[in-house]
Symmetry: C2
């Protein structure tokens, strides 16, 4: 699959692997009625505590407008609570609920299993090496 001129291009390889990984994550999350944005938001809330929507967006690298939609869906399932911020009436304070924390745990478990599936063909040393290389790329291309 894919022209030979591309099969050796790292940008192509990365894209293909990312597509496969994305399918795994998508399917795994879909079984819980969730998607990537939901997990990111729940995880960010769990790690740094309640935050405004704009802050959440910055933490997760999600656009403010997309945060709105994802939070609507999370709030509809009571995984998250939106409260007006008394100190700044422009803001909402978003809080992780107890069901939200449990759902996050389930999604995290799913995600861990996916890592194993994804990295199945690699030795532990190779996995470390891959992480190192990807991290180096990411750090460099992040200013």
């Amino acid at each position: 699959m894919g022209p030979a001129a591309l099969r050796t291009a790292p940008s192509w390889l990365i894209n293909q692997v990312a597509t496969h990984a994305g399918r795994l994550v998508h399917d795994g999350f879909a079984a819980h009625g969730a998607r990537g944005y939901h997990y990111r938001l729940l995880a960010a809330l769990h790690e740094h505590g309640p935050a405004s929507q704009a802050d959440l967006g910055r933490r997760c690298g999600i656009d403010r407008s997309d945060v709105v939609a994802a939070l609507n869906e999370l709030a509809a399932r009571d995984l998250v609570r939106r409260t007006p911020d008394p100190d700044d009436r422009r803001r909402n304070v978003v809080t992780l609920t107890e069901p939200g924390r449990r759902e996050l745990d389930r999604l995290t478990t799913t995600l861990d299993q996916i890592q194993d599936t994804l990295l199945a063909p690699l030795t532990p040393a190779d996995r470390t090496e891959l992480t190192r290389l990807l991290t180096a790329l990411l750090d460099h291309h992040r200013q």
Copy 2:
């Protein structure tokens, strides 16, 4: 950017790097009025010669219906020619035109430069290693 729980997950790292790479490719191709599908189709035509649309789709891993749209755009710019197949009237024979070959050359040059930009922080040995690891993942996840 991104919850800490994700920052070490390979699926996340791969996705982030793929997003950066995708932006580079997108911008580079956009300067030529092209996108990923266009390049893939042109490259496949150049490598294996004329083909039916369905064959092209299989070569490139692009859905038949998406091949139609992309070929419409390529044909409108005379980069590709669609001819009814005399041996099978269901099929079109898609051919790379001379302008198409030249455009492919330009896109290939652009893509090569992008690889350098993308892999800038890695030593030659690291680049080889990254390619090896990604290829291993890709091979494994194709049954």
